[in-house]
């Protein structure tokens, strides 16, 4: 099935694989032109191209189900022997679909959300650029090309976070005037964009170091080539560089997926339009790190299986994921800005995914953890995108990013209320009916059954995080929709602003996703089973990783709950119950005033303060990596560059020369006698140096 495209032999399937990422780029390139013709048309063109890209992705699904893969290459940098290519294997096809369809929905949402914005062309340009770059990450067959997409999404993220570059007050995040350890906790969009870009760049730098290390030994960046011949790994392992290389690559994932300790940029990234937050900082880009790990993990696992041990790689992933999940979840409990809560939650949930990927590599049953991670990725993408978009509607309507400025909105915004509950239940992991439940449960199961010595503590953290998740989701819903209307809303109503439902183009997308959360949740187990099967085949065929079928036999539960671990199930259920219950007590039923509760006890209030101040991590990072270097450079500039170098070597030299010129001129007195004296003395001098 090959055809000629631009003189290049191309498989039919391959051409659609290429198109998935090329189409958005083409759209982005023509966007300024279209914007010149008609601002109105840009939206339709953008959505159209996003749809086409998504359809291309969908056209590959059959291939994924057959565990087929397309690997197509063209020449690129011949002089180094590098090729560009697409690699459409089940992993990337499913991911491409997730990205493609969610971004399509968010594009539709954006047509409503961004309506009337003056810079709409720019918005569409960057959104399309983002989609293209993201799909490039997903579909690339080599690390270098992945890095192109990697930086592309970073760039798009930067551009979209600081989309409202005029830095109006309403576009900031954080509480004005609030400081943590002397650092202002209030960020302008342009600042936030920079912060995000530079912080992820730290990760990217690690990633490029890892890439280069691997390239140095393997001579290739290609994923398949790396798997094909593994002698490079033997050499690297012998030199002790294998694990560092992969850990460095994981550094990129840490940065992009906002994992500890590079998590702080994600919160400020909320300065971007909410559609952007939904697409980039919830559904897709932050998942790129997870995706990268999923690309690499089978390779590393296969190497481990072949005797080249790299357990530390998975252990680091595990620890980073666990720490992030707990840390960000805790912070999500106290923040008052709705988008920030969602952002914390995103980071925390990605921590889950990392955690389970780490545990997968450490367990015998790799595919379980792998599937669980991916399943959670998909379900999280759906409900978190939905939640974000809904939050965007709220912001749109209320005009404030603080949940304390909302309250009691359930009557005004019924659809949003319903969809948010549905999606929120997904996040909380409401038993049996939501995707979130099934995916989280499979994570618990995978961790619990891994048999790794750390399984139990990690499991505890996971469950604790689940409790926290349920709690803060309930808190969010309670604060927004329950209780009485806030002063702000009342004031708005008094001013004649009617609080009403969001327009159709906005609620439909998040409606669809919320409904999907429930619908897939209802068939969650079989969905998971399907994924499991696909990945089992995939891992077998591509990496030679065979799963060990020992789990189902040990199951004590009846048929339809096959593959479910009872401990995990119990934990999951109780976590949901405890978290939701606590949330209900404080925020829906409002039986206890949370403020009083916190202040009642010095321990609680201290703890509250610490998590509200983000464990001081942000402030410390600022002090160490922004303030001190700036202070240092200022010092160097003032006391070295300007003084020693600039003044010293320019003016100082000039002065020295001028001074010696004065001295020399001083000897030129104009008195002939002294000249003659010098002549005589000079004669003597010459004679003496001749004679000596």
């Amino acid at each position: 099935m090959t055809t000629e495209v631009l003189g290049l032999p191309l498989e039919i399937g391959a051409s659609s694989a290429w198109l998935i990422w090329i189409l958005p780029f083409i759209a982005a390139l023509i966007m300024p032109g279209i914007g010149k013709i008609s601002k109105h048309a840009t939206g339709y063109v953008a959505v159209g191209f996003a749809l086409m890209s998504a359809i291309s992705a969908a056209s590959l699904i059959p291939m994924a189900l057959e565990a087929h893969e397309i690997h197509d290459q063209i020449s690129w940098i011949d002089s180094i022997g590098l090729k560009a290519g697409v690699l459409a294997d089940p992993l990337s096809i499913i991911m491409a679909n997730v990205v493609g369809w969610i971004s399509f929905l968010i594009m539709i949402y954006s047509t409503g959300y961004m309506k009337g914005d003056k810079s709409i062309t720019r918005f569409w340009f960057w959104m399309l650029f983002f989609i293209g770059s993201m799909q490039l990450i997903v579909l690339s067959d080599n690390l270098l090309q992945v890095f192109f997409g990697w930086e592309g999404v970073g760039l798009a993220s930067y551009a979209l976070i600081s989309f409202w570059y005029r830095d109006k007050k309403k576009d900031h995040v954080g509480v004005e005037g609030r400081t943590v350890l002397g650092m202002l906790d209030y960020y302008a969009p342009t600042h936030a964009g920079m912060k995000a870009f530079i912080m992820t760049k730290v990760g990217d730098v690690m990633m490029i170091a890892g890439m280069l290390l691997i390239f140095l030994f393997a001579g290739t960046f290609g994923f398949r080539e790396l798997m094909h011949d593994t002698t490079w790994a033997t050499t690297m392992s012998a030199q002790g560089l294998l694990v560092p290389a992969f850990v460095l690559l994981f550094g990129g994932a840490i940065g992009k997926s906002a994992q500890f300790p590079l998590n702080e940029w994600l919160l400020e990234a909320m300065t971007g339009p909410t559609a952007v937050s939904a697409l980039i900082h919830a559904a897709t880009m932050v998942k790129a790190g997870v995706f990268l790990v999923m690309r690499l993990a089978p390779l590393v696992f296969a190497l481990s299986a072949a005797g080249i041990l790299a357990d530390q790689f998975f252990e680091i992933i595990l620890i980073v994921g666990a720490v992030t999940a707990l840390l960000l979840g805790l912070q999500g409990m106290v923040n008052s800005e709705i988008k920030k809560v969602l952002a914390y939650s995103t980071g925390s949930q990605i921590g889950y995914m990392m955690m389970v990927l780490g545990i997968a590599g450490l367990s015998q049953q790799f595919v379980n953890g792998y599937t669980a991670g991916f399943f959670h990725l998909i379900s999280h993408a759906m409900f978190k995108a939905s939640l974000f978009m809904a939050a965007g509607s709220l912001l749109h309507v209320v005009g404030s990013r603080f949940m304390t400025d909302m309250g009691g909105l359930r009557k005004n915004m019924k659809k949003t209320y319903a969809f948010m509950w549905a999606a929120g239940l997904g996040l909380m992991g409401a038993p049996f009916i939501t995707t979130g439940f099934w995916s989280k449960d499979s994570i618990f199961g995978a961790i619990y059954t891994s048999g790794h010595p750390w399984a139990l503590p990690i499991f505890t953290i996971a469950v604790l995080t689940a409790v926290i998740t349920a709690f803060y989701t309930t808190r969010m819903l309670g604060l927004v929709f329950f209780g009485s209307k806030s002063k702000h809303v009342k004031k708005m109503e008094a001013e004649g602003h009617h609080i009403h439902e969001a327009p159709l183009s906005m609620w439909v997308p998040y409606g669809i996703l919320a409904v999907l959360t429930i619908v897939i949740g209802l068939v969650g187990l079989s969905f998971e089973g399907g994924l499991h099967e696909i990945f089992t085949n995939y891992l077998e065929e591509s990496f030679g990783i065979y799963s060990v079928h020992n789990e189902i036999e040990n199951s004590i539960l009846p048929g339809f709950l096959d593959g479910i671990n009872p401990v995990a199930l119990t934990a999951s259920l109780s976590a949901f119950g405890i978290g939701t219950g606590l949330g209900y007590v404080f925020y829906i039923g409002r039986w206890v005033d949370p403020v009083q509760f916190v202040n009642s006890n010095i321990l609680f209030s201290t703890f509250h303060k610490v998590i509200l101040n983000r464990f001081y991590l942000n402030a410390i990072i600022y002090w160490c990596f922004v303030v001190s270097p700036l202070w240092l450079s200022r010092g160097v500039f003032r006391y070295f560059e300007q003084t020693a170098i600039d003044y010293g070597m320019n003016n100082g030299l000039q002065k020295a020369v001028g001074w010696s010129a004065k001295v020399v001129q001083g000897t030129q007195t104009g008195v002939t006698q002294s000249y003659l004296f010098v002549f005589g003395a000079g004669l003597l001098f010459v004679v003496l140096i001749l004679l000596i």
Partner: protein, 494 residues
Amino acid sequence: MLELSSTPLVIIAILGTVGVLLPIISIARKEKGSNSFYAVIAFSALIVSIGYVAYQFISDNILPSALFSKDVLVDDAFGGFFAIAMLIVAIFTTVGSFNYMRKKNYPAVYYSLILLSTIGMVLVAYSTDLVMLFVAWELMSIPTYVLVGFIKKNPSSNEAALKYFLFGALSSAIIVYGISLSYGLTGSTNIGEVIHGYATLDASLLPLALLSVGMFIAGFGFKMGLVPFHQWLPDTYEGSPPTITTLLAAGTKKAGFAATIRVIVLGMVVLNLDWTLALGIIAVMTMTIGNIAAIMQKNLARMLAYSSIAHAGYILIGLAISPYSTLGLQGSLYQIMNHSVMKGAAFIAVTGIVTTLAVTNIDKLKGLGRRMPITSLGLVISLFALAGVPPLAGFWSKIVLFGGALDAGSTIWWAPWLAIAGVLNSALSLAYYGWLTRKMYFEGETEKRVSEPKSVIAIMIFSMIFLVGFGIYPDPIIKFVEFAAPTLSLDIMP
């Protein structure tokens, strides 16, 4: 025996006749102020002389250099080289005086003295006998004492002349003293025989021989402006008429080098080679002090005077390393030729400025680039050439010089330091050349153009062509220098 058609004698004949006749004609004509008449005569005499030298070169009548002679004069390429350089300078001076001497007294005597002095300069380079050299030296010097003080109404001219005269008389006495010592040690005044005598000198007499070298260095060094014998030089260059400064800076100074090469370098190689270190030290002192003093000068002529002191230092590098590297003397000769044109052109530019604007204060030269575009262009090009900026002619002589110093590094340890000092100095010198350029071109934007003296323009154009042309294609002049430079080795014998 010296043939009557040999170059030095012909030059004596032509220039001497014209030089002596000019005052007589002026007495006969009994009229004043016909400056250009005498200038044209002098100019044509000089042109005929330079033509004769060139003819001798072309027709291969000139002996290769580094020959000693049984006579007092020798018609060799070395002398011919200097003759051309000196005659060019004399022509510069004469042509530059076309406008400068207008409405001034005694033009006939003025040109006559220039011609006589020119004979002296040329003959210094041709001399192979110390007596001859001394007499030529005096013929070169005495008319310039008069010329420096020629503007009788001008106190600085007189002051300059007095200082110059006192120094000149002292140094010629010192030279005689030096000659007396070397004569006493060797029994002859012929340079060839002196060398022979030195080569077989009794060890106990060596200090006296070195004493005579020291006296020569001091005596010739005065003319060359070597530190510490330089102090008269800025004062005199500043005070004297700028045309005469041209003659002094570009001409007589070079004659000093010719004498030094003939006597000290050629002659004394056979002695202990310690004198080279002395020359090296003097070279470094000279260029450093010259450049440093030049930096803060307010007066253009004075700045150029200091710069010419510095250049004496560069040239001296070549002399100091001459026994160790063939490039040394070549570099010196090359630099001498270039410096004659560069410094000549620069001082003629000063002449032009003085003639039209009557100022030499640099602060008053703001916007000169607009007022006198051609003069200032010529000045700037010669300044950059002096600084050794490529692709101007001055660059090539400097790299030959410094290259020679580095080349000599394989035999003598201190030679590369001369190159380093030279290089740093030429970088330093760019400071004041650049500053002057800045004054002329980047300040005083509102000045209007004034008419420039035609004679000055002619010289500027000539020197620009020379400096740029030989800067881009230096091969002919390099070949000429190679031909003219004597080769030194420790076994040269008459």
